[in-house]
Symmetry: C2
Subunit: 321 residues, 2 copies
DNA sequence: TTGTAGGCGTTATCAG
DNA sequence: CTGATAACGCCTACAA
């Protein structure tokens, strides 16, 4: 493997000059630049990335914390992050946490140890104070509303979005409205819960905990929702489903049980995943890939200023309401 | 940031000794080992990963080539790879290729440039001769039958599996059998095509290209299949669907069009994804996560011997046949 | 069992 | 504009 010193010899210049042309620095006489370029060609030189990293004190690695890689929501986020990482010559370290605090700590620790240059937290189980402890050690970026906190984030205003969707349901005559959620804890879920309760209060509707379906992440979770609803004396007439996969599961299982959608049960999904289109599910579009991109950019931002990027969403009207 | 030299000073030993205890090498007096360990605790020392990499001439990075991160098949593979990488202190570099040869070349190039220690090719568009060119530069591992070639692989015998599934269909009285596939090119697809044609020949059945549905990757692709079948004069009575997501899409759309499954159309899916269970789809179980694990292990195997790991599969009987 | 010293390949500083 | 040279932090012959 030929190195920068070999190149210097071949081109009859110093290593400094070689480094300069390699990094497109100014102040190199065209003549010498040519010589170096030639040497590079002839030797088919490849820089040693490890040496570069050591010298720069950076790893060009960005950590990505997700509970699970194979959930469509996170897969889309990763897709966006991955795409942007590529164009910036960064690589990703995926931390699959399953919401185990222990695994989340691993990721945080790697930031502290400078083994990654930044950490993107797509979703977390750890408490905010814990995260906060690691802020001094490197850029941390979240995918939740962090306004008021000293961390950058790209997020959707889930409170407003939920209110908006709920209003839409009530305008369509629904008064018994519930929702399903991936997990009840978590910042985004808390905002949604708040919105739900505020909405009920404002419309003088009672809060029935049975109308909130927890642990709804995958298509197959739709079955549980339908089973439960089918067995209820006073079931909801409409549901906000925070994930199109689950909505699709509900649509599918409802059919089996002769529950008519939207007549017996209206649905609004979230994310506008491809499955929502094919199954004609009304949904709130969330540009996950774009969010992933922005998260990455915030993570490697040179000026380490804190920024909050709110991403707008929109309702896509289809056949489930 | 305290480094190995600082530790040496603190513990009153040489850097070599520190390095030795850090790497659990033998020949260190218990006394000194203690001293070093103490120094590490007090200084909360963290090794500089870049220096380690430079010194060892390794990156501890393994490349993973997939056409798309957010397809359940590849997501499962990645899950397995990622899990194993974690326990071996490796990180992953994801190459999302969309089957663009150009992107695939990027990955190969990174191997050549030693920017990754090994490359796992989950699926490819590039020709074998191209891949072969890069064999000398580092370990490449494939997820397809490479017996006879000088590369390691973990794979399913798709030929035998297809034959097996087809026999099962014919035993159940089907004579008009088709299949859907992600893409027609690709090693695994070729084996399946061979199996299909051999099967037809053996059973004196005609080959009808209209019975082969290309480009079936996602749930939504099931719609196209159903539409096509609905419009055929002489449609197949059974289908092998090489992906449970697509099978689920077919089941869903068939319902809309009053096509009864399995009466009008029988299905055997592949992979045994969760959606297959919930939708009661008969399927061939393929342990993708386990395959991912093995791929990784082959990639970092110390003795660079070539190994071929065939993974057994099994039929899971459910309601679509 | 221990330590010295050289090397890994770049980048950055600073004097010319 | 150019070039010595000193980091960067760790590993490992080799010598003792």
């Amino acid at each position: 493997m030929t190195n920068i010193r070999d190149l210097a010899k071949m081109a009859g210049v110093s290593v400094t000059t070689v480094s300069r042309v390699l990094n497109n620095h100014p102040y190199v006489k065209e003549e010498k630049r040519k010589a170096v370029l030639d040497a590079i060609k002839q030797s088919n030189y490849q820089p040693n990335i490890n040496a570069v990293h050591l010298s720069m004190g950076k790893t060009f690695l960005v950590g990505v914390m997700v509970p699970s890689i194979d959930h469509p929501y996170f897969a889309s986020l990763i897709k966006g992050i991955s795409h942007e990482a590529l164009t910036h010559n960064y690589n990703l370290v995926l931390f699959q946490t399953n919401y185990k605090e222990e695994r989340e700590l691993d990721a945080l620790q790697m930031l502290k140890q400078k083994q990654i240059d930044a950490l993107i937290i797509c979703s977390r189980a750890s408490s905010w104070p814990l995260i906060e402890e690691f802020l001094p050690y490197g850029p941390i970026v979240l995918c939740e509303d962090t306004r008021g906190k000293k961390v950058s984030s790209t997020f959707v205003d889930h409170y407003q979005t939920f209110i908006y969707a709920l209003e839409y349901l009530i305008q369509n005559g629904h008064r018994k409205v519930g929702y399903s959620i991936g997990r009840k804890t978590g910042t985004n879920s808390k905002f949604r819960e708040m919105a739900y309760k505020d909405f009920l209060k404002k419309n003088h509707l009672p809060f029935d905990p049975a109308y909130v379906f927890d642990n709804c992440l995958y298509f197959e979770d739709g079955e549980r929702v339908v089973d439960t609803i089918a067995s209820m004396d006073d079931p909801p007439s409409a549901l906000l489903v925070t994930n199109d996969d689950v909505a699709a599961g509900i649509v599918t299982c409802a059919r089996n049980r002769q529950i008519s959608i939207p007549n017996d049960l209206a649905l609004i999904g979230f994310n506008n995943q491809p499955i929502a289109k094919i199954m004609d599910i009304t949904t709130i579009e969330i540009p996950l890939v774009e969010i992933g991109r922005k998260l990455f950019l915030q993570g490697i931002a040179e000026n380490q200023e804190i920024s909050y990027q709110e991403i707008p969403v929109r309702l896509i009207k289809r056949g489930t309401i």
